[in-house]
């Protein structure tokens, strides 16, 4: 049974990839992911704002209240070096690459083209096999047109492409008027893969204290539908590999993703909730299903139920929406 797949030219032993999450914070857990059978690991994200903020906070802590009062000219000893830049992250990639054989995909998170794209090169130099670029921008300015936001994103991809020659994936948001057009532009800008989709942490409201509160909810299989649809639509239409990264929890989810056209399916919530042993279980279940249905390799099924390859392409389009509503007559 051949579970292997390729992703941006890399050979993966199976299509199950650990997406960016706290599981990649330590070399030990990356090793455990490999032992558990994962095909590749996407590192947690290096955030441009976080690097800046940490630098500013450290400076604030070390200088606040200093040189004011004769008895206490400062409050902390000089500890020499501080890991406020990307060093810790890059070291982790280096160490991970020494310890494991599966591909390590760096992850970089930023808003716009700027000085921080140099971190892409640093990640490459640290030994990452590929880079996943997580570009997000939440427009709040009513004067800012969508075309500008799109262009900003394309520019970032171009800028990063110029910095690195390793494969480059772009994790995109689902909020574009024309996702296929955006996908095409990102591919033209240099992306080798698109990762569908970025999942935002949506804030909540505390009604008692009239405050906005951060609220992290892990995904579930229902969330697979959105990336599944767009993977199916994009498959074969844009010259990039596709990856699904939201709502992958079960072997069925993996199979659906592949059939829609994804080269890999990524999971994080499932592993955080139910542990790394789920990797082996899911792979066994995939294998068993494939045996039962007489598939010899996953390559066979990639894109098999994409929009391009289904009898009723409209099923992935607007008509599908109508159908869903019809199936719940009691609600109408």
């Amino acid at each position: 049974m051949d579970l292997s797949t390729t992703y941006m030219g890399m050979n993966l032993r199976n299509p199950l990839v650990a997406s960016s999450s706290p599981l990649s914070h330590k070399v030990d857990t990356i090793c455990k992911l490999e032992e558990a059978g994962i095909g590749a690991v996407v590192m947690y994200s290096l955030f441009e704002e976080q690097i800046t903020l940490e630098s500013q906070q450290l400076d604030y802590f070390l200088t606040h209240g200093t040189e004011s009062y004769a008895e206490a000219l400062s409050y902390f000893p000089d500890l020499g070096e501080y890991n406020v830049g990307p060093d810790e992250y890059l070291n982790l990639i280096r160490k991970a690459k020494e310890k494991v054989n599966i591909p390590i995909i760096g992850s970089l998170n930023g808003v716009s083209a700027g000085g921080w794209v140099k971190y892409a090169r640093m990640i490459q130099e640290a030994g990452a096999d590929a880079l996943e670029l997580n570009v997000y921008y939440l427009p709040t300015d009513p004067h800012l047109p969508g075309t500008d936001v799109e262009q900003m994103m394309v520019d970032v991809v171009k800028a990063v492409r110029q910095e690195v020659n390793i494969p480059l994936a772009v994790k995109m948001a689902p909020f574009f008027s024309s996702i296929p057009n955006m996908a095409k532009r990102l591919a033209e800008a240099g992306a080798n893969a698109l990762v569908l989709f970025n999942r935002f942490y949506q804030p909540d409201i505390d009604i008692e204290n009239l405050e906005v509160t951060p609220h992290l909810v892990l995904s579930d299989s229902d969330e697979l539908r959105l990336p599944l649809r767009w993977t199916a639509i994009l498959y074969g239409r844009v010259p990039v590999d596709l990856a699904i990264t939201t709502g992958v929890h079960t072997y069925q989810d993996v199979l659906k993703g592949l059939m829609a056209g994804a080269k890999v399916t990524m999971m994080a919530s499932e592993l955080l909730q139910n542990g790394m042993e789920r990797i082996g279980q899911i792979l066994d279940e995939v294998r068993a299903w494939m045996e039962e249905y007489e598939y010899s390799s996953v390559q066979q099924m990639i894109g098999s139920v994409s929009q391009k390859n289904v009898k009723e392409p409209a099923a992935f389009e607007r008509a599908n929406y109508m159908k869903v509503l019809d199936s719940y007559p009691r609600l109408v």
Binding site: T66, Y75, V84
Partner: protein, 1189 residues
């Protein structure tokens, strides 16, 4: 290896040598010597070795007494050992010093000499501490500037190993310990060449060793002791020669020459000053100037003060000397003269009596005192001494530098005499602590001192306030070494980094004619002139100053630096001072930025680079008009209606003119009036809270948390509003009991520090706009005048009487109690002061406070003002500070005194019953129930009645009863201090006091570090936190002091965190005070030393409780007496991981950033110990061992 030039201060210079030539270093923080220990701890944490290749072990002790004991033990066991200290710390070492010297043990203690506390504590420099050690038998070697400190530290180390006599290596606190100079750094080769390893081995040979055992430290009897003491004489006789030899060896190796007594001046001088310490540089500069005028003057710099070599002194004096003035930087009341004077007189007298005096005639010797507590010592004062010497009948036992109009000891000083050289850049910078001025200047000194051939000197004058602190930096740069160690009096560059200083201080007083004036101004070059006070305009015109402005705050804001204008102002200084070519200066500033900030991340570097570039684009020269145009000037410091003492003394101190106050202006015994902080309107907040009555729910949380008592609430009759100012705000009071009254929250905007805690804690939000609370921050300046009037009106409204029907057992009601602690100079957002304020609200009118030295004694009692004040009856806290190491005992003494006087009053009442002739009154006084405020008030009324009856009585017992009658009213004794005091230095005393069973209350303001001295670790410091002396993160857990106290069973113990549970804190205070025995409250006090956003201090307190790190509890022995469990847990245990709390504090984060593995391990251990402790506490509370989440 070639020596390099560095810029460093005296402390670093001493530590540099001491660290490399020792193996064990026992330390304890005390100003101004703490940095020596801090450097050593940091170097050891980084693994820097000494000259033998091993890393010295640095150990923090619980007190200087403990440090001296550890040093003694380490020396006895054969290690090269040292310590650093000052003042009271040195006094605590004296018992061990006698032993160490008596046992002829080689060691050097490095002393930043500081004033010993007498009528007052002073952190500043003089020789009173080292002079108190004269009888210990230690050699004393004095260094006069940072270069000498580095050099003589090594000479002392070399000499002690040979002489076997221990050495105090002394330099002046602050003036040398904190003065930055360019110096030549000794190399490790220099040190190895100076230190004879044979002598090191001999030191080890003399040490205790069970392989060749002996005993030392015996007890002796009259038959042996005396002779044994005399047995050491040869060692003392040999020591001067050994030091001289070491100095000569040093000169051969390094090139700098030192002698036991160094003479400078005319070879045929007639008038000679003999002195030691940092004043020598100033005296030498003056001698040089006077020599150029042909005057025959000279100076003897005493280096080896003990053992005192008569021969070497006499040899150093020129044969032509006619008169000698011996200057002592200390005072010994009642002595014939100060120590150095007496030594010189004795030396000359003995030589004269022996007929060996080599002078043409016996010189006259006079003695004088100067520079106590770092009082300025200037060339003009040196000149005054020479002038006095030349008189026929010079004044003996004179003082110089003050105006003594009481016993008329002072010399007259010509204020116009100056020796400042025109080829020296003399720059003075006025700044705020928060704006980074000092840091920038230290950077500039580094650039000029280390990157150019110029010589550099920097000295910094700090404020006694911790919030809104003013700093004045004095920088000299020149082509020749700088001699004088005194503040710049004639500056050719003056920078004022805060525009509002122009209305508070005479900023341009020291500007010389033609000087450059740089002003950080919100007004541009065209309009700034019209915003300057008249006197400033006049000075600019009269002195023909070149005047530049920059809007540094605007630039800083634009580049994202907030209020840090340091880099901007530094760039401007270089751009217009001409110290370096502009291009070169910019390049060097950027290099320095990379060096300073590089390790903090690229973002900060880039922001500062941007600041440099923007500064140059925004610096403008002002075309100075020929005429003064302003119609306003600096306002008076205090209003006219202030009390006479405030106007005459306090206001002068506030204005920075204290040096000009004569001796007669001061109280004879250090007694000062209460309530003086209210006169010091500092106006330091850029933004202040503004109250919205329509949103306010009148909960009182803002009043409760305010660290500076600037936000107050009152409930009053509506009729009183008739005379209210137009903008005075009021709303109906939301109290059932006070439904017909009005309520106001008023902010003292001129006293507010702008910490925002009140706004953060305010729970009331506008229902239609959640960004608007009942308190919101607004710019202070537009509100100042209006709110000043409102505040005055607010003060005129009556306070709710304590004995009113309201019960002050909830936060809402407590807000109405008048604080008798207001407007302290504590850090903005301080976590300690809300507890102190609460204490005064609840018990202030009958409160004794014994205050341990530390933050609370500084914001409580540092001149010019005190925040402790009085109520409308004139009652208020009686406050005193004794020492750091005795505060528990000091407070116990107060309790005992009250008890005795109370007992005597009761006895007299019985005895005078017939005379008083009012049994009801007497019985009432004797049997009063004073368990609540109403009972206390009734007793006060009885005492008043008694006094009325007795007034005019002449019988001794009647007069005695009048003297002690106040003691019939219940008094509340509170022993207040920080964790350094309670957990460490006075733990023994605290333990003894709680064991006494006496009715004292102990309030521990637990900041978990020695906050006042810069955040050194104490036994209260939590595991994993970085602190000074715990650079690698504290490896051990915090001491559970509360649990230890509980084991006495009869001690009331509470652990509180006001920010987490206001009511539990209030209950603890009330219960502790009510408990008729010893009580302890351990109060979580967030602190600037935690590395937090101080406006979120209460949130950190809550996190500390919710993580289970800081469980809240009360242990009340009275409950046990009622058959209940005395231990009550008031918090719900660990509900969130410790990380949620630690990740928001710099003290933990910097370890995560510098040593993540260690941080993770320590935090893991800390998390486990929290769970364990919680299980234990639950069991104690009778709730079983489960319950952690």
């Amino acid at each position: 290896m070639a020596r390099s030039y560095i810029t460093c201060d005296g402390n670093e210079a001493a530590a540099y040598t001491a660290y490399r030539t020792n193996e064990v270093i026992a330390i304890y923080p005390i100003t101004p010597s703490s940095p020596m220990g801090e450097f050593s701890d940091e170097w050891a944490a980084k693994g820097i070795p000494n000259i033998w290749g091993t890393v010295p072990q640095v150990v923090e002790m619980q007190s200087e007494g403990g440090a001296a004991g550890a040093v003694h033990g380490s020396l006895q066991a054969g290690a090269l050992t040292t310590t650093f200290t000052s003042s009271q710390g040195l006094l605590l070492m004296i018992p061990n010093m006698f032993k160490i010297a008596g046992e002829l043990t080689s060691t050097v203690f490095h002393i930043a000499a500081r004033t010993v506390a007498t009528h007052a504590l002073s952190i500043f420099g003089d020789h009173s501490d080292v002079m108190a050690c004269r009888s210990t038998g230690w050699a004393m070697l004095f260094s006069n500037d940072p270069q000498e400190v580095m050099d003589l530290a090594l000479i002392a180390q070399a000499a002690t190993l040979e002489a076997r006599v221990p050495f105090l290596h002394v330099f002046d606190g602050f003036r040398t310990s904190h003065e930055i100079r360019k110096i030549e750094q000794l190399t490790e080769e220099d040190m190895r060449a100076m230190i004879d390893n044979e002598l090191v081995r001999a030191h080890r040979e003399r040490a205790l060793n069970p392989d060749r055992p002996f005993i030392r430290g015996t007890a002796q009897n009259p038959d042996a002791f005396f002779q044994s003491r005399e047995r050491i004489n040869p060692f003392y006789l040999a020591t001067p020669g050994i030091v001289e030899k070491a100095m000569n060896k040093f000169a051969r190796i390094v090139g700098r020459e030192y002698h036991l007594f160094d003479y400078v001046g005319a070879p045929d001088a007639e008038y000679v000053i003999v002195m030691m310490g940092s004043g020598c540089g100033t005296a030498e500069e003056t001698v040089q100037a006077l020599l150029e005028k042909g005057e025959k003057v000279g100076l003897v710099k005493v280096r080896l003060y003990r053992p005192f070599s008569r021969e070497h002194l006499i040899k150093a004096l020129p044969a032509t000397v006619k008169a000698i003035a011996v200057l002592d930087r200390t005072k010994e009341p009642g002595a014939l003269g100060e120590p150095l004077y007496e030594d010189v007189v004795t030396a000359l007298g003995e030589a004269m009596m022996e007929g060996t005096l080599p002078f043409a005639r016996v010189p006259r010797v006079i003695g004088g005192r100067y520079g106590l507590s770092s009082k300025e010592f200037t060339p003009a004062m040196v000149k005054a001494v020479y002038d006095e010497l030349a008189k026929d009948k010079p004044k003996n036992h004179f003082t110089v530098g003050i105006i003594d109009d009481v016993t008329h000891t002072s010399l007259e000083v010509d204020p116009n005499f100056s020796t400042e050289s025109p080829d020296v850049v003399r720059a003075v910078f006025w700044g705020l602590g928060a704006d980074g001025t000092v840091g920038a200047n230290k950077n500039s000194i580094k650039i000029i001192g280390e990157e150019t051939p110029n010589w550099a000197q920097g000295y910094f004058v700090y404020d006694s306030k911790k919030s809104g602190a003013v700093t004045v930096s004095h920088l000299r740069f020149g082509h020749r070494p700088i001699l004088g160690s005194y503040l710049i009096q004639r500056a050719n560059f003056v920078a004022c980094h805060q525009f509002h200083f122009l209305e508070r201080y005479n900023v341009l007083e020291m500007a010389e004619e033609g000087a450059t004036f740089l002003l950080n101004s919100p007004y541009g070059p065209e309009e700034v002139w019209h915003h300057l006070p008249r006197s400033v305009q006049q000075q600019i015109i009269d002195k023909r100053l070149r005047f530049y402005v920059i809007n540094a705050y605007d630039v800083a804001k634009r580049v994202g630096l907030g209020v840090r204008i340091n880099t901007i102002m530094q760039t401007c200084f270089f751009a217009i001072s001409g110290v370096l070519p502009r291009e070169e200066a910019v390049a060097k500033i950027k290099e320095a930025i990379r060096k300073t900030y590089g390790r903090r991340g690229e973002a900060v570097v880039q922001q500062n680079f941007a600041a440099v570039d923007a500064a140059l684009d925004n610096l403008f020269e002002v075309k100075v008009p020929a005429q003064v145009t302003s119609t306003f000037d600096r306002p008076p410091v205090v209003p006219d209606h202030a009390p006479e003492f405030i106007k005459r003394v306090t206001a002068e101190l506030m204005a920075g003119r204290g040096d000009l106050l004569p001796v007669s202006a001061f109280p004879v015994d250090g007694t000062y009036p209460s309530g003086t902080a209210a006169w010091e309107k500092r106006n330091i907040a850029l933004e202040v809270p503004v109250w919205e009555p329509d949103i306010c729910i009148q909960c009182g949380k803002c009043v409760y948390i305010c660290p500076h008592s600037v936000i107050r609430a009152k409930v009053y009759d509506k009729s009183l509003l008739a005379s209210a100012p137009a903008t005075f705000k009021a709303t109906p009071a939301k109290w059932r009991e006070l439904s017909d009254k009005m309520y106001t929250i008023q902010v003292a905007v001129e006293d507010c520090t702008g910490c925002q805690l009140c706004v953060e804690v305010c729970p009331a939000k506008d229902k239609s706009d959640s960004s608007r609370k009942a308190l919101n921050m607004h710019p202070q300046i537009p509100l100042r005048e209006q709110e000043r009037t409102n505040w005055e009106f607010f003060l005129s409204l009556p306070d709710v009487p304590k004995h009113d029907s309201l019960r002050f057992n909830n936060i809402k009601n407590v807000q109405l109690l008048r604080p008798l602690f207001e407007f302290s100079g504590a850090c903005s957002g301080c976590g300690e002061t809300p507890y102190v304020r609460l204490l005064t609200q609840l018990f202030g009118d009958r409160l004794y406070i014994a205050n341990a030295t530390g933050c609370s004694s500084i914001y409580g009692g540092n001149l010019p003002t005190t925040p402790y004040t009085t109520d409308s009856e004139g009652r208020g806290p009686a406050w005193s500070n004794s020492l750091f190491e005795d505060n528990a005992e000091f407070g116990l003494g107060m309790r005992l005194a009250i008890n005795r006087q109370n007992a005597y009053a009761r006895q007299l009442l019985q005895e005078l019953r017939p005379l008083i002739a009012d049994d009801e009154l007497v019985d009432g006084l004797l049997n009063a129930d004073q368990s609540d405020e109403a009972g206390i008030q009734a007793q006060r009324e009885r005492v008043a009645k008694l006094k009325q009856k007795l007034t005019g009585g002449t019988e001794p017992k009647v007069r005695d009863l009048l003297a002690v009658a106040d003691m019939l009213v219940r008094k509340s004794v509170w022993i207040v201090g920080g964790d350094g005091w309670a957990y460490d230095i006075d733990y023994g005393g605290l333990d003894h006091v709680i064991a006494s069973g006496e009715d004292v209350n102990i309030l521990i303001l637990d900041t978990e570090v020695y906050s006042n001295t810069g955040g050194q670790a104490s036994k209260a410091t939590p595991m994993g936190a970085v602190a000074r002396f715990a650079a690698g993160g504290k490896p051990t857990a915090k001491k559970d002091l509360g649990m230890m106290a509980m084991h006495y069973a009869n001690v009331y113990v509470a652990q509180v965190a006001m920010g987490a549970n206001e009511l539990q804190t209030l209950k603890a205070f009330l219960e502790a005070e009510a408990y008729p025995g010893p009580s302890i409250i351990i109060a979580y006090s967030h602190c600037i030393a935690h590395g937090i956003d101080m406006s979120k201090g209460h949130i950190q307190q809550k996190l500390a409780v919710d993580t289970g790190y800081w469980p809240l509890y009360r242990y009340n022995p009275l409950l046990a007496a009622q058959g209940e469990n005395p231990f009550q847990l008031d918090s719900s245990g660990p509900t969130i991981p410790l990380k949620e709390y630690t990740s928001k504090e710099g003290r933990y984060r910097i370890l995560m950033q510098s040593n993540p593995e260690a941080a993770e391990r320590l935090l893991q251990e800390a998390q486990e110990s929290i769970q364990q402790r919680w299980r234990y506490y639950r069991m104690l509370a009778g709730k079983g061992s489960e319950g952690t989440t």
